[in-house]
Each structure stands twice: as C-alpha cells, then as structure tokens.
Amino acid sequence: MELVQMQKSLQDYTKSLFLDGVLDSQFLQLQQLQDESNPDFVSQVVTLFFQDSDRILNDLSLSLDQQVVDFKKVDPHVHQLKGSSSSIGAQRVKNACVVFRSFCEQQNVEGCHRCLQQVKKEYYLVKNRLETLFKLEQQIVASGGMIPAMELGF
C-alpha cells in the first residue's frame, strides 16, 4: 500500500473512531502531547491503560462473582476505570462505567453484571480499534512516512 494511501486510511480510520463515539476529544489531546521529545506518548499511555484496565476488569469479575458482592470494593474499581478511560478518551468505556456505578449504588447485582459485560464489550472494542490504529501508524512510519495530524474539523 502506498504511503499516501496508508496515511489516508489512518486518517479515515481515526475519524471513524471519533464519529462512532469510541474515542473523544481527550484522545486528541493525547495526540497533541506527542512530539519529538515524546514520540511514543500516545501508545505508551494507551498501553498503560490496557494494563490497568485488564487488571481492573479481572478484579471486577472476581468481585461480582462472589456469593456476597461487596459493592464497596466494586465501586472504586469502576471509578478508577472511569477515570482512566476518560483520560485517554475512551468515551464509550467511560459511559458504560457511569451506568455501572449507578447500579453499584443501588447495589443491584444483576444490573452490575450486565454493566460489567457492557464495559468489557466496549473496552475490547476500543482496545481492538486502537491496536489497529497503532499498527497503521507503525506501517506508515516503517514506510518512511509521517503520521498525519488529526484534523479536528469533523
């Protein structure tokens, strides 16, 4: 694939993520923070996010599977996930967390289970998309090209 094509693909792909609401403007902020002195910033942060989230989701699954669910433990996890997902711009994950928290407050186990599923779904989705995005970027860089700056016009 030609470089230009790759770059175009990347842009379109990224745009679609925004349009779908998978990512929000916070992600753009992250991208803007990336510069020569910080060349891999976005991928580093996103990697951290994946690590943290995997762990949190795991803990959440365990907590919710208990006989007696301890919402005092569940809530902070969800809260943290909400915080980190919002920080990187994973909008749908964040929104799912918000709903999750309200069920926690109500101590609704069934509702929480459903929410957890939803959060996981959104999380894997954004993870997948971002990984694809990074791959595209890598291909471009490997081909000697520059990653095109995101247009904020959309």
Binding site: L48, S84, I88
Partner: protein, 580 residues
C-alpha cells in the same frame, strides 16, 4: 541543581519551571498528567503513592511549589493527604478526581484544597494552576513577592512570606525552616508567618501538655518551647488555629463524639500516658506536633475514619491513650482546615494534659452514648467512673462532679450529644455534689447549663477529686477533667479540688485554655467545654460534642485577645483538638 539555583530559575521564569508534585495511583492518568504538566513547562515529579509523596515533601519542603493529587487512592485518601500537606507544609494542593459530585468538591474546599479539577484534565486548566502558588505567597507575604512568588512559593510556599529581606537566605536555607518562623519580624506588616513545622509543632504540643492544657498560656508555652525568635503572638495564633481546627472537626463529629467522648474522656483521664496513643495516626503528624502530647500524629484520615464510624469511634476509644486524637480528626471536613491549625496536634492526646483543657464534650459524648465505656472508669480521671454512670445519669456520686449547674444550656453547644452526656455527667456530678442538681435531672439541662457560656464557671470537676467520684477520679489529676464549670458560679462547687479548679478557672489558673474557656462566657469558648471551662483539660466533661468544643474554641478565639491573659483559649482548644 541546588535549591537556590532551582529557585532562581523558577523565580525568574515563574510560572515556567514551577515545581509540581503529582500524585495519582492510576498510572494512566499519572502519565497523562505528567505530560500535560510538562507541556505547561512545569517541572514535574510524579509518584503513585501518597505515602511516597509525603516523604518527598517532608524531605524537603522547599522542593515543591504545588501538589496535585488524586482523591481516590488506595494507600491514603487524597483528602487526608491534602490536609497533611496543608498542615505540615502549607503548600497549595489541587485535588483531582473523576468524581464530579459536589460533595467531593466541597470536601476538597473544606479540607483546604486550592482547586478541584475533574478528570479528564485538560491542559487549559493546568496552564493556570500557577496562580495558586502566587496566591498563597501573596497571602502570607505581604504581597511583596509577587513576581518572586514563584520563588517564595518555591521556597516555602508562603511561609517565607513576609520575609522579603530574608527571603534569599532564608528561602534556600532549609535548615532555617523552623527558625524562620521565629523570625518574626515586627516590622513586617503582618507578623511574619511562622512556619509551624512538624518539629515546631511538636514542641508546641509538648509545651502545652507539660503546662497542662488549661494552664497553657502562650507565654508559658513560648518559654517552654524555647524557640528562638518565636513570639507569643505566634503561639497564640497557633493555638487559635488549632482551636478552629478542632471546631471544624467537631462540626461533623457530633456523632462521632458520642463515641469518642468516652475515648476522650479516657484519654483525658488517664491519659497521661496517652502520648503513645495508638491513634491511628497515619503519618499524621499534624504539624508533627500532635504527637507531642503523646498524640501521635494521627493521620487525619485515620482519625477521621474512626470517628465517623462507630468502629471508628471505638477505635478512638480503644485508644485509651489517644482518645482525642481520633476525635478531633474525625471531622473530615474540618480536617481540611486542619492544616491551618498547626497546633492541632491534638495535644489532647497527651492524654491527660491536653484533655484537661479540652472540652470534654467529646469524650463526654462518648460516655454518654456509650454508656460509658469502661474506659472512663478506668481512668483515674474523673471520667472513668463516669462512663458507667453516664448513661444512667450518673447516679453515683462518684461521678464527676459535674457541677454543671443547669445553667443556660450552651447554645453554642453544638454537641447535643455532649450535652446529653454532660447531663449524665452533670447528673452524676450533681448527685455527687451536694448542691448539684439531682442526677435525675436531665443531664441535658445540666449540661446545657454548664455549657452556658455565661455560666462559665461551672466546673465540672470531672476528674476531680472533689467529688466523691470514683476514687479513681479523685486521684485523678484534678486538673484533668476539671471542668471548671462553675455551674453556679461556685455554687455547689464542691469544695476541694474540684472547686479549686473552678476557682482557678476564674482566676485563670488553669491553663490558658481553660481559663479562656472558662472565663469566656462564651459558651463556645473553650470548646464546648468552654462552658464548662475545662479546668484541667477535662475535655470529656465539657461539651458533649466536639462541635461544642470547637465552638467554644472558636469563641475563644474570638477572645483570643484574652488568651494573652488567660491563654486559655488555646490551651483548651488544643486539647480539644487533640481530644478529638
């Protein structure tokens, strides 16, 4: 780079190079925050542990200009960190959280945060955070460091303010941190800010304890502290702040107080050894001084936690030695303000000493509510017996001599609980004391009387021997709970020790605080106890609730001026605080 260099650079280019310490347990957020801050051209240090952050800050107060901290952290509550930082280092702290709930924001405010940011943080918001450093510097400085604010702030937040001339040498001279405070420069517009460092505060607390809470007068404290260049005014205002702090804490502590009262009482009573109070003080040092009295610096959070929950309270209780500490801190919201009250170190923890001056209310409440846990009984202080009798309205005489005459109930007494307790107490006292109102009396009324500011003199001879309270009580250090609540201005005051306290109170014998409290008819004064005028740091007896105490203290503060003379204000206050 040396501090000086760093400061110089910071000074010159402020806000560029402003040194920020970022704390967040979430590594994703921390990394992003770090990057954002770098983008703003600040100098950033990050840590994902609150404890580590505290260490870094304590290691060198002048190393940072500003702290940004997340609220929800596993090892320490962000608000607690906030308080500690504010108290010990007086640096501006910005809270960060994904919680947009106003109550959290409010909590941040009450705990002294300069700002509260919501996650995800935007760079625009971070670009202006330097204003907090400037603001702080201006506040303490008489404004002459505006452009140098970065510098000043750098050096010691606003501590060094007011020392324009000394800023260069002092600023960078960390060794002088403590001494700086002492460099009161009378010529400054406002008194140069004394930096109540942990060490200084410890000395302060130790001095107060040594003098006895009620007897602690700024002048005496000053003498005992033996810190060069520290003035009486510094000490007095420190006491005042402490009181305020306690008051704040007590505001929310009503419930806690109930439980903690016992504690407090215990503490006060026999707490002489409370120095080692097991206060769950985390790093707690409230200005480090808290421990001085034996009050180990309790981590505000720890204490708070305790107070707020029943278990917490019991925690307080358990701390036989550190009853009050827990109590005071309880007030989470108040804690925020804590940092101002450097003197907080709840001397009351000292156990007996502090308590002496401390408004009993705290303990008292506990007693009342708890049914006096035996704690009281255990204490030599008057309290010990108290508890048992408490709930039942102190039937036995051996109870504290609550002479609280049913004087007008202290309106200022927020701690109704305390009142109740007092009632019991009073009842007990009354029963014991001849003229005291019959135990059956609604303790409330009793207490209320006691609290009555005007009644000021009612001394609750809690721990005093005068009352045939438990024998244990008797030998308790008379000062210890002696609440000088002249219930009826001498009326029933039992003769003997107890009464003496009262008298003393009047004459301001007791520690400054007590006197202040006592004399200040201000019910609020002297910590709730105020009404009662804790004679001997008898905190427990006084106001049932911390609130009262705080109120009293507050009032006392009002009569801070009085402190000079009576010095009770603080004395008592601090005990209050500690009690809490």
């Amino acid at each position: 780079m040396t501090v000086e260099q760093q400061d110089c650079v910071a000074l010159d280019q402020f806000p560029v190079g402003m040194r920020v310490l970022a704390v967040d347990d979430d590594q994703t957020c921390l990394r992003i925050l770090e990057s954002l801050l770098h983008r703003c051209q600040y100098h950033v240090t990050t840590t994902n542990q609150a404890q580590k952050a505290l260490e870094l800050l304590r290691e060198n107060k002048n190393k940072f200009d500003l702290v940004i901290s997340d609220v929800d952290m596993p090892d320490m509550d962000g608000f607690k960190l906030l308080e500690l930082v504010g108290l010990e280092m007086d640096l501006p702290v910005i809270m960060l959280s994904a919680h947009s709930d106003p109550k959290y924001v409010m909590k941040g405010v009450t705990h002294g945060a300069c700002d509260y940011l919501l996650k995800p943080v935007r760079i625009e918001e971070l670009k202006n955070i330097w204003q907090h450093v400037v603001r702080k510097n201006r506040g303490s400085n008489n404004g002459d460091k505006k452009d140098g604010s970065g510098n000043e702030g750098v050096a010691n937040s606003d501590q060094n303010n007011g020392r324009a001339n000394r800023k260069r040498k002092d600023q960078y001279n960390e060794d002088e941190d403590e001494e700086r405070d002492d460099n009161d420069d009378p010529s400054s517009q406002k008194k140069p800010r004394v930096v109540w460092t942990v060490e200084l505060h410890k000395k302060f607390v130790a001095a107060v304890n040594q003098l006895g809470f009620e007897k602690a007068m700024p002048k005496k404290i000053l003498d005992l502290m033996n810190v060069e260049k520290l003035t009486r005014e510094n000490v007095a205002s420190h006491l005042q702040k402490f009181r305020l702090y306690l008051k704040r804490i007590s505001g929310n502590q009503q419930a806690i107080m109930a439980n903690s009262d016992l504690h407090f009482l215990q503490m006060s009573n026999g707490l002489d050894g409370f120095h080692h109070r097991p206060i769950p003080v985390g790093t707690g040092q409230f200005h480090g001084g808290a421990a001085a009295a034996g009050m180990r610096p309790f981590p505000p959070n720890g204490i708070l936690g305790r107070l707020n929950t029943p278990s917490g309270m019991s925690g307080v209780r358990n701390l036989s030695s550190s009853p009050s500490s827990g109590m005071f801190l309880q007030n989470p919201t108040d804690l925020g303000k804590f940092h101002h009250v450097s003197s907080l170190p709840l001397n009351h923890i000292d156990g007996g000493n502090i308590l002496q001056g401390l408004p009993m209310p705290l303990e008292f409440d506990q007693l009342q509510t708890n049914n006096n846990k035996s704690i009281i009984a255990g204490n030599s202080m008057a309290f010990p017996t108290f508890p048992a009798q408490q709930h039942s309205s102190l039937p036995n005489n051996n109870h504290l001599v609550l002479e609280g005459h049913p004087q007008a109930p202290p309106s200022a007494f927020p701690g109704h609980q305390i009142n109740k307790r007092l009632e019991h107490w009073s009842n007990a006292v009354s029963s014991s004391s001849s003229t005291l109102p019959p135990p059956g009396q609604n303790s409330n009324s009793l207490i209320s009387h006691q609290f009555d500011a005007s009644s000021s003199s009612y001394s609750i001879p809690f721990c005093d021997s005068t009352i045939p309270l438990n024998p244990a009580l008797d030998h308790t250090n008379p000062r210890a709970f002696y609440r000088a609540t002249d219930m009826d201005s001498s009326a029933n005051v039992q003769p003997g020790v107890y009464y003496d306290s009262l008298q003393m109170r009047k004459s301001g014998n007791y520690g400054p605080t007590t006197d202040a409290m006592l004399s200040s008819n201000n019910p609020k004064e002297g910590f709730t106890v105020g009404q009662q005028k804790l004679q001997s740091g008898f905190m427990g007896g006084e106001a049932g609730s911390l609130d009262d105490i705080v109120n009293s203290t507050m009032k006392q503060e009002q009569s801070q001026g009085d402190l000079s003379e009576g010095d009770l204000g603080y004395g008592g206050f601090s005990s209050l605080r500690t009690c809490i």
